[in-house]
Amino acid sequence: MSGRPLRTFAVLGFATTHTALAAEQLLRDLGVPVTPIPAPASIGNGLCGIALRLEPGDVERADTLLERAELRVAARGDIEDV
């Protein structure tokens, strides 16, 4: 095993796959890199299966953009790099 320290990412969860994919498209189009991942159980339930992983430093901008587009973030949390 390498001794590389685990990085922490922010995770945004959504109620529907439709909203998750709309958010992914919007953020990518506006230059916020995101990666779709299986929604981690740790961020909550009642979510769709896809969550978006992003750099903690991008969360504030992502929140602003999503709010403006009326795309609701249903849950949030952190995840360690896998």
Partner: protein
Amino acid sequence: MPASSSPRPVAYLDHGATSWPKPEQVVHAVTRALTDLGGNPGRGAYAMALAASRAIFESRRTCAELLGVPDSSDLIFQPSCTAGCNLMLKGTLKPGDRVVVGSMEHNAVARPLEHLARTGIEVVVVQGDRTGLVDPDDVEREVRAAPTRAVVCQHASNLTGTIQLIGDLADIAHEHGALMLVDGAQGAGHVDVDIGVLGVDAYATSGHKGMLGPQGVGLLYLSPDLDVRTQVEGGTGGGGSESPDMPIERPDRYEAGTANTPGIVGLGAGAAFLIAEGARQHRRETELVYQLIEGISQIEGFRVLGPPAGAPRVPIVSAVHERLEADRIAFALDRTYGIAARAGLHCAPWAHRTIGTVDCGAVRLGVGWGNTSEHIGLALRALREIVTS
């Protein structure tokens, strides 16, 4: 006899039932869904499931763009227009409600309403005229007469091609606090549909007719403020699985069960095709329909149903002959000339009763994408020969 043993017709004139052939883009999209998008959409986040989810997301957006739906999550995929009509009616009406409905409805609306009438819903039918048009003044008179929960009307008739005055009916419904619920099976894809402008509360349509998608898929628009009770509950994927209730968010609320990815993706390709080509296609359909109506009217013994030549209609032309039964005409068209057309009541006994053809039925020629002036010429020549032989 048809030129070969292939069941493919020489001229396909049954677009009212389903469109054929499909644009190449639709065939490719369906094939790609089966070869490359095989994961279960909305159920996993691995690459192939994600690709399927994305394709459905894109299809929904494209369909919303074509139909003028502001927020695509209000556009629900259904297995058919019939399923959409059932959800729109059974999910909004409850015992004690009163519904005013036009008399030209297809069984996709008529039968659910007949069923609901037995559960204590009052169904008031407003007669259309001989051309199939439901007069908004007649509807208003009925809506005024007693508190009404909904006005229900088709966008266009699958028998006469008559285009109903949906915008006017929606205004009347809303003036009196009623909902406007529309069966758009014969509208979408054949006429410009801008749901935002029509101002309806729900609009169901087929994916496989004018929208040019494959069979097994339909669409239902629900206005954002309309509270519709679910009619099918089940899995929607995701992490809310432990909840006993369906999610409240659209579209998932109304899309329990694995989606029909090939159908939905094919429908999206059909919608994209129509965004690019729809205006040209509508013009061509109008010309062919004019040629067809003029031609049939000149054959002795035929009477064309619906609006007169040149008046607005969707590309459906039905006719009756004074001597020959419709089924014999359709059989001869197929067997002798390889022309696909449909006879009978077209799942629309209400409509046939309205225009006085319930006892004899009619032969229906439905024009659509892929048809040419030669097809119409062949059909006219065949009809002439059939009635003179």
